[in-house]
């Protein structure tokens, strides 16, 4: 009997308070890394009605204007009017300058990287599957695309629509393969209470949903439930309505709950934090396994212990879809990729990424998912390890 079930994933727009915090955290990290690539940074934010709290712990030579950057992010997200807006909100900053010694003692960049060890005990998961061309699960891919599209539309209709929004996509799976779209739920916030729902609905269908599905193979059908603002209109939304915190949307950042994920936040951390970079490396490995055709679903698990350069465990799980045994695959993955802390930073050139984008890349990463972003050309989305993985097969 064919098993059939619905799986839903949720994503939010850049104007959602939690995402706003993620973006501010990452904008700070990005700007510091741009000026000072070996910097150590932890940036956390919380936002409520009229106040943004930023806590920045950094060991760096860089100097940044935290409130200005934060205000820029808030304005970019579309909060340029109303009770919460980038120009007038209050920004409370707590800055802790750590001594330079907290960075690596070695002056030479290369040796500094190879000396890096994990500073957290953490188990990380990377996942890839064949449901979409970017090898992400379909629900989160769609949710993120819809959220991204919704964001764009909110900006185009900035007089009517406010930047806060939420998207949920439900996919019917038959035999673990997406078979049809069960439901789409979109929550968009509006500037004024008097915007007619019909008009909102039309805008969203015409300008968000339709374009988002333009290049998709699976599109909504007549049975698909499309809900727009099912709980009634959301006026203004954003931090004026609900509070936000950095790192509370790890689901939307990763796999939408379809695969396991570490509870650690991705945003607001510099590359030496293994709970961020390890998640990228795990995704990279999993994606390459699937891209190499070695499995159609693959989860890579990396476990790090404080004080070790390399993960104490590298484990691959293919849910029975692997061309080779999971043990075999685990060994190959471990051999093919350098999972040491410094190795990952070197492979992905994480500090250089910040510099090349003038500090902007991290901020962009913080909204609409850290994985499967073709427009950003992320190094951990590259399938550059396929050859190595297959070579290992051939030569054995």
């Amino acid at each position: 009997m064919a098993s059939e079930y619905v799986f839903t994933s949720e994503s939010v727009t850049a104007g959602h308070p939690d995402k706003l915090c993620d973006q501010i955290s990452d904008a700070l990290v990005g700007h510091i890394l741009w000026q000072d690539p070996p910097a150590r940074v932890v940036a956390e934010c919380a936002v409520s009605t009229g106040i943004l709290f930023v806590s920045l712990k950094a060991a760096t030579t860089a100097s940044i204007d935290i409130p200005r950057l934060a205000r820029e992010v808030i304005l970019e997200a579309g909060y340029d009017r109303g009770s919460f807006n980038g120009r007038t909100c209050t920004v409370m900053t707590n800055q802790l300058e750590e001594p330079e010694a907290a960075r690596s003692g070695a002056r030479d960049r290369e040796s500094a990287l190879s000396e890096l060890v994990a500073q957290e005990n953490v188990t990380l998961f990377g996942f890839a599957c064949t449901q979409t061309p970017v090898l992400l699960p379909l629900p989160i891919w769609l949710a993120n695309r819809l959220a991204q599209r919704l964001d764009l539309v909110c900006r185009e209709h900035r007089d009517e629509l406010a930047p806060d929004g939420k998207v949920q996509v439900g996919i019917v799976y038959r035999d673990h393969q997406p078979s049809r779209i069960h439901s789409l739920t979109l929550v968009a916030s509006q500037r004024q209470a008097d915007l007619p729902l019909a008009r909102l609905r039309q805008t969203i269908i015409e300008e968000v949903v339709k374009p988002a599905f333009e290049h998709e193979t699976l599109v909504p059908d007549s049975e698909t439930r499309l809900q727009i603002n099912p709980e009634g209109p959301v006026v203004e939304g954003g931090p004026a309505l609900h509070a936000g915190l950095t790192g509370r949307k790890t689901g939307a950042d990763t796999y939408g709950g379809y695969a396991r994920q570490s509870s650690a936040a991705l945003s607001g951390k510099d590359p030496t934090r293994i709970d961020r970079t390890g998640a990228y490396a795990a995704r990279h490995a999993a994606k390459n396994v699937v891209a190499a055709g070695l499995a159609s679903r693959c989860e890579v698990q990396l476990s790090y212990s404080i004080g070790f350069r390399d993960p104490v465990s590298v484990r691959v799980e293919t849910f029975g879809t692997g061309a080779l045994s999971d043990d075999e695959l685990s060994e190959r993955v471990a051999r093919a990729f350098d999972f040491s802390v410094g190795g990952i930073i070197r492979r992905f050139d994480l500090a250089g990424l910040a510099a090349r984008s003038r500090g902007r890349l991290y901020q962009r990463l913080a909204a609409h998912g850290h994985f499967g972003r073709p427009e950003l050309a992320l190094p951990w989305e590259a399938t550059d390890g396929v050859e190595t993985l297959l070579e290992t097969v051939t030569y054995r």
């Binding site: 700007h31 741009w34 000026q35 009229g50 106040i51 030579t61 860089a62 100097s63 940044i64 204007d65 935290i66 409130p67 200005r68 120009r87 007038t88 209050t90 920004v91 409370m92 900053t93 707590n94 800055q95 802790l96 300058e97 750590e98 209470a193 008097d194 510099a355 003038r358």
Partner: protein, 1199 residues
Amino acid sequence: MAELSALLEEVFAGGGTARTLLVALTSLPCRTIPGHVFRAALDQYGLRSTFDTILQDREVIEALDAVHLPASGETRAVTLRLIRPLTLHQRIGVGRMRLHVNRELLLLIDDRDEVTLRRGDIRMSWMRMNEEVLVRLRRARDRSGAPVDMLAVSAGHVISQTYPLDVITLPPRVPRERVTVEAPPPPPPRLAPPAPVMASAAAPAAVLPAPAVSAPPAAVISVVHRSPGRLRLRIAQLYRNEVEKARLERALRGRAGIVSVVASSLTGTLLLRFAAPLTHQEVERTVERILSGEDAGEGGRRQQAHHPWHIFDIEQTAALLGTSPDRGLSEAGALERLSQYGPNLLPQAVSRSPLQIMLEQFASLPVALLGVSAVVSIVTGGLVDGVVILGVVALNAGIGFTTEYWAEQTIAGLNRGLEPHAVVVRDDQEREVAGETLVPGDLIILRRGMAVPADARLILADHLSVDESALTGESVPVNKMVAPLDERNAPLGSRTNMVYRGTVVTGGSGRALVVATGVATEIGEIQRLLGETEQPETPLQRQLRTLSGQLVAGSLALCGVVFGIGLVRNQGFLQMFKTAIALAVAAVPEGLPTVATTTLAIGLRRLEQQGVLVRRLVAVETLGAVEFLCLDKTGTITRNEMTLVMVVTGERRYDHGAGGFSIEGQALPPGGSPDLEALLRLTALCSEVRLEPAADGPRLLGTPTETALVRAALEQGIDVEALRARYPLLRTRLRSEGRGFMDTLHQDGNGYLLAVKGSPDQVLSLCDRLSEAGTVRPLTEEDRERILVDNERMAGQALRVLGVAYLPDDGRPEERRDLIWVGLAGIADPPRPEIPALVEQLRAAGVRTIMITGDQSATATAIARQIGLGHKGHLESLDAAQLETLPADVLRSLAERVDIFSRVSPAHKLYIVQALQRAGHVVAMTGDGINDGPALRAADIGIAMGVSGSEVAQEVADMIVRDDNLATIVGAIEQGRTISSDIKKAVHFILASNTSEIAITLLATAVGTGEPLSPLQLLWINLVTDVFPELALGLEPPECDVLRQPPRDPHAAMFNRRDVRRIGMESAMLTGVALGAYGWGLARYGMGPRTSTLTFTTLTTSQLLYAISCRSEKRWLFDRKPSAANPYMTFAVGAGLGLQGAATLLPGLRQVLGTTPLGPSDWLLVLALATGPYLASELLKAIERPCRVDRRDADSHGQ
């Protein structure tokens, strides 16, 4: 406004209340009803009393400016907007209280049609309490079940009242004809009973309300007397009318020329003192105008319209002002407006009169009690006693008066600011006029270096930049333009198309239409805020008041007991009465004010020698309790002077400070770097700075940024004049919108030289080559990236960064893209060199330093890092353009943590000070600008700068730092702490010694063993042997660790439990030895003068020796670090012993005091007994020492 009338008829036809009226108002289609229309409509039906009941005072409805109603669909609410915030005085069951009414009252209407006043819109203050007044109009049912409307008013624990609202039913036939009148109806007479029905209705709201032209109602005024500069008027409507009194006083106070205003509602008279050129007639006329309501008092606030001018375009502005943007006003029109709106003057702060200062000296409970005792003594025949007591009072008042009067005089001597001149266009003619003659609508011309004479909307701006630091604290001049803005609530600093009075034009030129003059200007508004801010009571005042009260009550009770016991024991009425009075005088700490005043006055003088001028005596002591010092960045932490601080050429970074340029700490000799020199030469060429020869080197005239660059070039030995002669200037293109750089073209021999400086990324985008170490090479991508990172980093350090480039041999005017990059120059307003050490010292002394600035947070953070703010590496900053939107409790809890407040406007400084005070802290605040006035006054200690500070700041401050050197604040804090600890020592001594005197008399009277001390002996002890040690204790030099202790807790009582126990033990010792001597004397000599003398001498001697022990609370006899010498104490003890000796030896004194000479054995006994309390006290200190860990010490580490 026919709808309004119809609505009123509908609501009240069947009986309505204020609640139903408010609910009904929300159904009106209109959004705003002008106040006079509303009043007229209410009066038409005699309904004004409905509002009087809910708002408690008829002045509220009188002051109503407009009623705002939200658009349908929004929350139902009625906003009452008043012409100004009100302070009302009300008599309630428990005394008089003040109600502070906000300018906007928001009445929210809920689903049940009940009306609630927004919290905080009305606050009350009574005694030391300050509470929000909660007003709610509720629906209820009476006993019979019929619906009634109730008014519930509550405020903290002070008021809680509920009473029914009047139900008003209109008579069935109301005259329905409505008359439309052109002008608003004249305000009704003040004392009219709840308004009569008036047959007048609405007039359309004029945009710029014309001043009332109606004839004043017959106010009954008569002149009581006239003398030069004085006028006493009797005003009928003032009699028994507190509202009128407050209104008159407020309206007259602060008016140009008026020196003092005293209105009395008891007698119905008004006393005015004024200065020439005002005449009696003019003053009388002004009073009449105020009484008739024609003149709102505040110099035209009511008359001048308050529009968001910055969002209007020029045509709208000109139309609203009734003026022409080309021709200006006509001379005649201007003259007429001048008489309507009054002169463009700001009120001057009033200083206290000598009489006031004198009277304040007597306003303390102990002094009053002493006065009474003196009178009673004289009446009952004790002339000597009475005179002695009066002597004490006079001494006390004399010292207090002299010091305070002298301080007041010094302040008055500070030079005053001058009213600015203005260039104005009238009748199409340009002319220079005195600034005070400007009126709204005038077209003024602004040129570089001019002070802006009034608030004005720009209509032409040619590279106009204005230094608004006096108003906003932003030290970088603001570039002004003409285009209207979108944001209605833009902060002052962002209103780029407005110029404000009190600011200075630093560059360019412009034309503007005056929109507000005098008190209606933003600065006037700030001064008005000043008038509303109250000065808090200082910790010393509070503690001494409490203590005096307690002591007075306690000693009176004890005297009563002694008197009663004496009567019971039948010791003679008069005798006991005299003893009781003497005892009262002995017990009352009359020395307390004297000691406090003297100590404070000496401290004041010491501070003055250090360059700190103290305006209020008690402020000296408050300094010791200061926990937070709020420093203004611009002008206080920094010099408010832009300076070149960093240059980057190639990969080299040069720091620039007082000692010239340096690389990584190594000084760079002149000519040490060709790249640097090239950059400086280019910026000296590409610059509008003019050099004026002066005695001490050339004076630089230009924008702060350019001046900073040229000054650095001069310091580096570059002859700018010669350089400019060598490369004659051909043309200049200034930076403009969209083109963020400036370039100048120079003749270079036969060729040309193009010098460019401006926004680094724009200049860099024009370059394709790079000059490094004298050679020019192509600019690579890495170079660009490095330069941009350098730029970002410098910007992050709050520098204004300029990129510099050049191109030789270029004569073509068009934009080129092949310039040669030279480097980056970073300019900032650096902190004064003494500040970091100051912050460190303050931290050691447990004082948190907070920086408040109108600048961007990057600037603030960079400066904060340089001066070492923050704690344990943490630096917390609050960047808030709209601090007022933060809930008060949130701000209170945040304020304690924050090190930097950035982008803060004047009113916000006040919020910060108040938030810290609400959290229970003693706050000092420095400031130099006009904008700092309200916060300076509200702070426990307001500190103004003597050189750079504005007059307003100096007048409201508690202390003035003469030379702007903040380092003296540390000395002041040390002085303050010493003073409070000295006062505590003196009070400690007074308490212990006075208690012993009472105890001896009480015990002896109770036991019935006669009277050990005669009344005059008691007074002798009190005056001779107590006062000198007290004063000496008050002059103790600072103990060496005073600046390493946390500030004392201002809320703690002066003495804690342990102190009280110690005072008790010590006074028991004093009593013990005196009673010992008494007992010994009784046993040996029986009751008589010899026994009395023995007791008397033992007591005085033991007290004198005990005083030495009181010099320190911690250091004891065998301490390794002895106290610094106090010659006063040596003198006091020596003189005391000498006088006591004289009292037993000199026949005259012996007779008065009833003493006899003592024998050698008596003296031996006296000495043996007298050293007892001293040694015991020293021993107590030694025992208590190890456990003297201050609680607050632990607390301050936890912060």
